[in-house]
Symmetry: C2
Subunit: 429 residues, 2 copies
C-alpha cells in the first residue's frame, strides 16, 4: 500500500479524553475514531490489526475442533425469558422494541441462542461432543465506557460453546479450549497466565480467566515462576500441569497461604483477555436441551462457554507492546510487516529503488506500507515509529547510488545497511 | 472436514414457512436457522458460503482501490439529525434508547457515519479521491420480513463511499465500482445486468442497479443481447460501453420506445443484488464535509454510495443455481469444493481409500467434506445433492479393490471412474 493512496489520519496531539496508553496510541495512530461513548469506527490501520487478531483466534478455534457459525446481533427477549436472564440481566443489556413493539435486545452474549440451535437439531449422545463458536459484535451498555476499545460498549468477541453428555466429556472440551487459548495468545506474542476464576453456585475448578502481562495492566497478578519456562507454542501442552501451577489475582492472593516459595513467586500487572467457564446444565435444563443416552434416558446436555475479547485484545496488545515513540507490533498482528520510507520525495534514484523494493516485497506476499508522500523525513520517521510496523526500510539518495537501504527493527531499534537483495531476503522470509 | 464431526443439520421436510426455493433449500441444507422474524443464525455450511461471497466482494473492492474500514452497528441519532434523515427515515429504522435515555439506532446504512469520519480528517483536495468501504451487519425493520435471507431484517451489506472534489472525479470513482461489481458477480458465476435506476432529485445517469438473472427472479428485466457476448472477466471492461447497452426492468420497459430491435432483445427474471449511486453533496453540505480547492476555496465534497447485499447474494446464488435435488454451487462460492461419500461404512478397503483421498486433497489445499457417517448410501447421495458441492467422489468396496473411485460433477451430472491419482489431479487443480 502506498501511503499517498491510503487513509491514515494520524494525530499530532494526544486527545485529552484518552486516559490509557493504548487508547491514546490507537487514536494518534489513526486506528479508531469514536462515534459515540464506547462505540468506535475502525479506521484502515486498526481494522487490519483487528482482522489479524481475529484470524489467529479463528485458526486456533478451528484447530481445536470447534465449528464456526454466526449468530445475529439482535435477539428476541422471549428466548432470554426461557433462561430467566431477561429479568436478571441489568441495565448493561441494550433492550429494544421493534416496530411491532416486540421486546428484542442486542446480544451481550449468546448462550440462549446457541442452546436454541442445539435443542432443535441434536437429539442423541452420538452427536456429541459438539463445539460451536462465532466471532460477532456484542453490546454491553456500560454506565461509563472508557479506555477506548478496552471497555467499549460495542465490542467484538469470540464466544464458543461446548455441548457434552457429561462432566467428563465437558472437561475434555474445557481442556481443549484451555490449550487453544494459550496457543492463540502465544501466537500474538503475548504471555497469558491462566487463573482460577469464580464459578459461582456451580463450584468446581472449571473456570479460568486468562490475563496477559503488561506493565500498564489493570490489576496485579501473582504466579509461579514455572510459567516463564513453559513453551506455549508446544503442540502438546499439558493443561493439567498448567492448571496445577499457582496463579492468582491481587484480591485472591494471600502471601500467608501462597503455596509458592518467595523466590519462585512472580508478579506483574494483568489484563483479562479471555474467560472459559463450565456451567453444566444451567441453560440446558430450563431450555429443555436434552439428549438421549445409550440407555435411552433423556438428560440435559452439559455446557460451557469460552470467550475471547477480540477487539479488547487490540488494546491489550498495545498496552503490552509500546514505547515512548509509539506502538511496537508483534509481527503476527502487525497491520503491515514492513514500512518503507523515502527520505527525499524528489530524488529519482531513491524513488526508483523504493519502488523496486516495494514491488518485489509485495510480489513475495509481504504486506508493505510505503510512505511515498511529499513530507519531511522526520515526520515520516515519527509516523512509522508511531504506527509500529516491525521493520522499517529507509531509502535515501545516498544509499540509492550504491543500491543500499537501511533496515531498522522497530523493537530494539537495531539498524543495518543492506543491499536491496539482502534486504528482500531478510524481509520476505 | 469429516461429516461425523461436523454440524450439518439437514431437514427431510421442506419447512412450510419458506415460500421461495432459496429459503427452502437454505433451511433444508442446514445453512441457516431463524431466530426471530427476518433474523437468522448462520449454521456452519451457510457461514462458509457467506464468507466466500464476502471474500470475493472484499478482493474486488481492494482491487478497485477502495480501503476497508469497519463502522459500528449502533449509531447516535444526533448524527442522523444533522443530515435530516433521523426524522425522514420511517419505521424501518430500528430506534433504540440507551441506559442514559440517549437516542440511538441500529444503522440501516452509513452515509452519516462515513461523512463524519471524512470531515474530521480530510481537509484538502490533495487527499482526494478517497474511497472507503466496510462489510457490516445492518438492520432494517421490514414490516413483513420474508424470503429468508433475501429480505431479512438483519443482513450483511458491503457499502462503499466515494469522496471526490467534483463531478468529474465522482464519475471516475463511480465507473471503478461499476466495473468492480460486474467482476465480483462474474466471479461468483452470476450474470449481472446493470440498469439505470432512479436518481431522485439529483437527476443524471449515475445510478445503477445490478440484477442477476435467475428463473425465479423477483421481476422481469429486458436487455440487449449484446450483454451475452460480454466477457465480464475482462480486466479492461469499458464501463461506458456497458452503460450504453439497453437494460430495463419491467416497469420501465416500453416495447414501443425500446431502442433494441426485437431479435436483439432478451428478457429474464432478475434479482437485485447491488446498487451504486452518486448523490453529490446531499450529505456533505448539511454535515459540513468540505475540502479546500487549489484556489483556496472551501467546497462540499462530492459523494456516492455503493452497496452489495452480501447475505442476500447467498440466497440469490441459490435462486440462480439449483435443480430438483438441491443446490448446485458455482465453485467459487461452494462451501466445500469436493464431497466424498463412502458407500459402505464397514468396508475397510473403501474407508482406507477414502481416507487416503481425503488426506491428499486436503493436503493440496482443497476443501473437502467427507461423509464418513454410518448411514445408507442413498441418504448420503441425497445429502450431497442437496448441499450442492461441485464435485462428488464415491468410494465403494468394488472400486476400492482396484483403487478406483467415481467422480461426479454436481452440475450436469457427468460421472467418471478414475484412479485415485487421476481423481486427485482433476480435483486439486
Amino acid at each position: 500500500m502506498r501511503l499517498s493512496r491510503y487513509f491514515l489520519p494520524v494525530l499530532k496531539e494526544t486527545p485529552a479524553e484518552a486516559e490509557i496508553v493504548s487508547h491514546q496510541l490507537m487514536l494518534r495512530a489513526g486506528m479508531i475514531q469514536q462515534l459515540s461513548a464506547g462505540i468506535y469506527s475502525w479506521l484502515p490501520l486498526g481494522w487490519r490489526v483487528l482482522q489479524k487478531v481475529e484470524a489467529i483466534v479463528r485458526e486456533e478455534m478451528d484447530r481445536s475442533g470447534a465449528i464456526e457459525i454466526l449468530m445475529p446481533t439482535i435477539q428476541p427477549a422471549d428466548l432470554w425469558r426461557e433462561s430467566g436472564r431477561y429479568d436478571a440481566y441489568g441495565k448493561e443489556m441494550l433492550r429494544i422494541k421493534d416496530r411491532h413493539e416486540r421486546d428484542m435486545l442486542f446480544g451481550p452474549t449468546n448462550e440462549e441462542n446457541v442452546t436454541d440451535i442445539f435443542r432443535r437439531h441434536v437429539k442423541s449422545y452420538r452427536q456429541l461432543p459438539l463445539n460451536l463458536y462465532h466471532i460477532q459484535w456484542k453490546f454491553r451498555d456500560e454506565v461509563r465506557p472508557r479506555f477506548g476499545v478496552m471497555r467499549g460498549r460495542e465490542f467484538l468477541m469470540k464466544d464458543a460453546y461446548s455441548f457434552d453428555l457429561d462432566l467428563e466429556g465437558a472437561r475434555r472440551s474445557y481442556d481443549a479450549y484451555f490449550v487453544a487459548y494459550l496457543r492463540a495468545f502465544h501466537r500474538m506474542g503475548l504471555t497469558a497466565i491462566p487463573m482460577v476464576a469464580d464459578t459461582g453456585p456451580i463450584g468446581g475448578d472449571m473456570s479460568h480467566e486468562f490475563q496477559i502481562l503488561a506493565s500498564t495492566g489493570e490489576s496485579e497478578v501473582f504466579f509461579d515462576a514455572a510459567f516463564e519456562d513453559i513453551d506455549f507454542g508446544d503442540p502438546n501442552l499439558d493443561p493439567e500441569r498448567l492448571k496445577a501451577l499457582y496463579a492468582a489475582a491481587d484480591e485472591k492472593h494471600d502471601p500467608a497461604t501462597c503455596p509458592v516459595p518467595k523466590d519462585r513467586l512472580r508478579s506483574g500487572r494483568g489484563i483479562e483477555v479471555g474467560h472459559i467457564f463450565y456451567f453444566g446444565t444451567k441453560y440446558s435444563e430450563p431450555m429443555n436441551a436434552t439428549v438421549s443416552t445409550a440407555d435411552g434416558a433423556d438428560v440435559p446436555v452439559h455446557m460451557g462457554s469460552y470467550g475471547i475479547g477480540v477487539s479488547r485484545l487490540v488494546g491489550a496488545l498495545i498496552e503490552a507492546n509500546h514505547d515512548a515513540a509509539g506502538i511496537v507490533w508483534p509481527e503476527s498482528v502487525a497491520p503491515f510487516k514492513v514500512g518503507i520510507v523515502t527520505i527525499r520525495h524528489d530524488d529519482e534514484a531513491a524513488n526508483a529503488l523504493a519502488e523496486d523494493l516495494y514491488r518485489k516485497l509485495t510480489g513475495a506476499g509481504v504486506e508493505v506500507l510505503w510512505d511515498d508522500r511529499d513530507e519531511r523525513a522526520g515526520a515520516k520517521f515519527a509516523t512509522m515509529d508511531l504506527i509500529g510496523l516491525p521493520h522499517q526500510v529507509t531509502v535515501g539518495p545516498r544509499g540509492a547510488k550504491s543500491g543500499r537501504v537501511e533496515v531498522k527493527d522497530r523493537r530494539g531499534g537495531a539498524k543495518d545497511e543492506l543491499s536491496l537483495d539482502a534486504a528482500i531476503e531478510r524481509l520476505a522470509r
